[in-house]
């Protein structure tokens, strides 16, 4: 399976390149912690935001884990723009590299990064009194949800990168989709506290699928069936966006 091998080697390339960027690594560690601690403090006195959790930080942790994953995924297309600008993509395309492998390796890389950050956030959360009520299965569900959430948005982000091919347009697009999706989700407040129309919209928001699955795993320690459905939806979303990005190579190749 040449596609799988190529994807693997391209993931190795990206991981190795990123591991050589100390500032990138520092930001990957610090940023999610800043969100967790900042938002955790900001809303900690608003009792009704807890949604049944023992503390707001416990309620918030699954939300921040997912926010971090989907932001990471939405921005990951920048890597494709760098590769386009440095003509690395052209080099691959003139060789028998699978278009799907070029995109999917970036999607996998975004997923792995999000899982590592989720692990970090959960460990810090534990120190702040957060308990994963779903046990081992709960941890696995959180990792699956964050990895898939990042992957689904990474596919979309890479498609956009191949269509717009400019940093400025990429940044505008990521902002345009990022913040609304965050506020149409249960990242910061429980679904029960949302106005009805936002509640309805949030059901169709992939970000919320990840948030619901993670919150079930951490707070409830149950609802596994519902979480399974959310994870399957995220798998489907990842497949759709990855294929969308692969298809976007056509648009890029028409432009050169």
């Amino acid at each position: 399976m040449q596609v799988i091998r190529q994807t693997g080697w391209m993931v190795v390339r990206q991981a190795r390149n990123l591991a050589r960027e100390p500032i990138w690594i520092a930001m990957m560690v610090i940023q999610p912690l800043v969100w967790l601690l900042l938002y955790g403090q900001l809303f900690s006195r608003v009792g009704q935001l807890r949604g049944g959790a023992s503390s707001y930080i416990e309620f918030l942790t699954p939300g921040i884990v997912c926010m971090n994953a989907f932001f990471g995924g939405s921005w990951s297309g920048m890597a494709m723009i760098t590769d386009l600008n440095r003509h690395v993509v052209d080099r691959f395309l003139a060789a028998p590299a699978s278009r799907f492998a070029i995109v999917f390796s970036q999607v996998v890389r975004a997923g792995i990064t999000a899982v590592l950050q989720a692990l970090l956030l959960l460990v810090v959360g534990l120190a702040l009194g957060v308990r994963v009520h779903g046990g081992v299965l709960g941890w696995l569900v959180v990792f699956a949800a964050t990895g898939l959430l990042a992957a689904a948005f990474a596919g979309f982000s890479h498609g956009i990168a191949l269509l717009v091919r400019k940093e400025a347009s990429m940044i505008a697009t990521a902002n345009f989709i990022g913040l609304p999706l965050m506020f149409i989700s249960a990242i910061l407040i429980p679904t029960a506290s949302m106005p009805p129309w936002i509640k309805t919209l949030s059901r169709f928001n992939p970000v919320n699928w990840g948030v619901e699955a993670s919150r079930n795993a951490i707070l409830t320690g149950g609802n596994w069936g519902a979480s399974g459905v959310y994870l399957l939806l995220l798998v489907a979303a990842t497949a759709v966006t990855s294929l969308f990005a692969t298809w976007c190579f056509r648009s890029y190749q028409r432009s050169i």
Binding site: Q6, N17, R20, R86, H87, R91, A94, A95, Q253
Partner: protein
């Protein structure tokens, strides 16, 4: 057998007809130069042959395979060194080469030893394990060429291999290409807008202008097609009589394409050694003092002017804009 056959390729971008019926053929094992000013359509042609760009119409075979119908087969037999370096800056030279080999389904010891061999070939063995972002322009270019050669391609495309290099690095690159060319099995298609580069490296040349091949042949043939030499006479004191001098030189046997430019009169003659004394005596008879005479064998510059009716360097600068 022909390694590359190009028939009537056409490609239009919004406002530019980049290829307007490009046709030529490259024999197996030769170094073939596509020569033309910036914007003539050379890069579009090479990108089409490297399966990156789809032509609007026309056909092209590379190593016997159709570039539109079987792009993946073509990709296995070509190495493509683009005008802009495709080096991954964050990776080391060796890592760049290893990944390219993996893409070509190479692995294990054969890949590792091939990579070592190439690093030596392009003189990067000492820099092999440094990140490519620290490489000079010439080093990146040589790494690009090594990347194009990892899988032992049958056809190598070199798109403007020396553009942006300083004179020293350019000379080194010429030696490099000559060394590659000496490998019998490798066919090289190079594009250049440097006339002297095509003259030096290419066994055969196609001159491309405005999306078409205007003439094809060895550099010697093309220059011989212009017959003879260019004689330039500097008049010491023409006093606005340069036009009269032109008609004088015109009468000399064999002189053609006689033109005046300021104090200079230029003419094309079949044989400089025979014609110069005749030109000088004819001018002196009519009272034109001559300060200097030079002769030049035709360059590819002259060939370009002859076949397109346009000045190469002016067209080159216009293409840049």
């Amino acid at each position: 057998m022909d390694a590359i056959v190009v028939e009537e390729l056409r490609k239009r971008y919004k406002t530019v007809q980049a290829m307007d019926g490009v046709s030529f053929a490259v024999r197996e094992g030769e170094v073939f130069g596509l020569l033309g000013p910036n914007g003539a359509g050379k890069s579009t042609t090479v990108r089409t042959l490297a399966t990156l760009t789809q032509p609007d119409s026309g056909h092209a075979l590379v190593a016997g395979e159709d570039v539109v119908r079987h792009p993946n087969r073509v990709r296995r037999s070509i190495g493509y060194v683009a005008q802009d370096s495709g080096v991954d800056w964050e990776a080391t030279g060796r890592e760049n080469l290893m990944l390219q080999g993996r893409i070509h389904a190479m692995s294990g010891t054969p890949l590792r030893s091939r990579v070592g061999e190439l690093l030596e070939l392009v003189g990067l063995q000492d820099a092999a394990d440094r990140q490519a972002r620290n490489y000079s322009g010439g080093m990146k270019r040589r790494l690009d060429i090594a990347i194009g050669l990892v899988h032992r391609p049958r056809v190598l495309f070199l798109d403007e291999p020396t553009t942006g290099l300083d004179p020293e690095a350019r000379a080194a690159m010429w030696v490099e290409v000559e060394r590659l060319a000496s490998q019998e099995s490798l066919t090289i298609l190079l594009t250049t807008h440097y006339l002297e580069e095509a003259d030096r490296l290419a066994e055969r040349v196609a001159i491309v202008s405005r999306g078409k091949v205007v003439v094809e042949g060895t550099p010697t043939e093309l220059k011989a097609g212009l017959r003879g030499e260019l004689v330039t006479v500097d008049l010491a004191d023409a006093n606005g009589r340069a036009h009269e001098a032109v008609s004088v030189v015109h009468l000399v046997e064999g002189a053609s394409e006689v033109v005046a430019e300021g104090q200079q009169v230029r003419a094309r003659v079949p044989n400089g050694a025979k014609a110069i004394p005749l030109i000088l005596s004819a001018l002196e008879e009519r009272g034109f003092p001559v300060s200097a005479v030079t002769t030049a064998r035709p360059s590819l510059d002259d060939v370009y002017l002859h076949y397109t009716g346009r000045d190469f360097s002016r067209e080159d600068q216009e293409g840049n804009r």
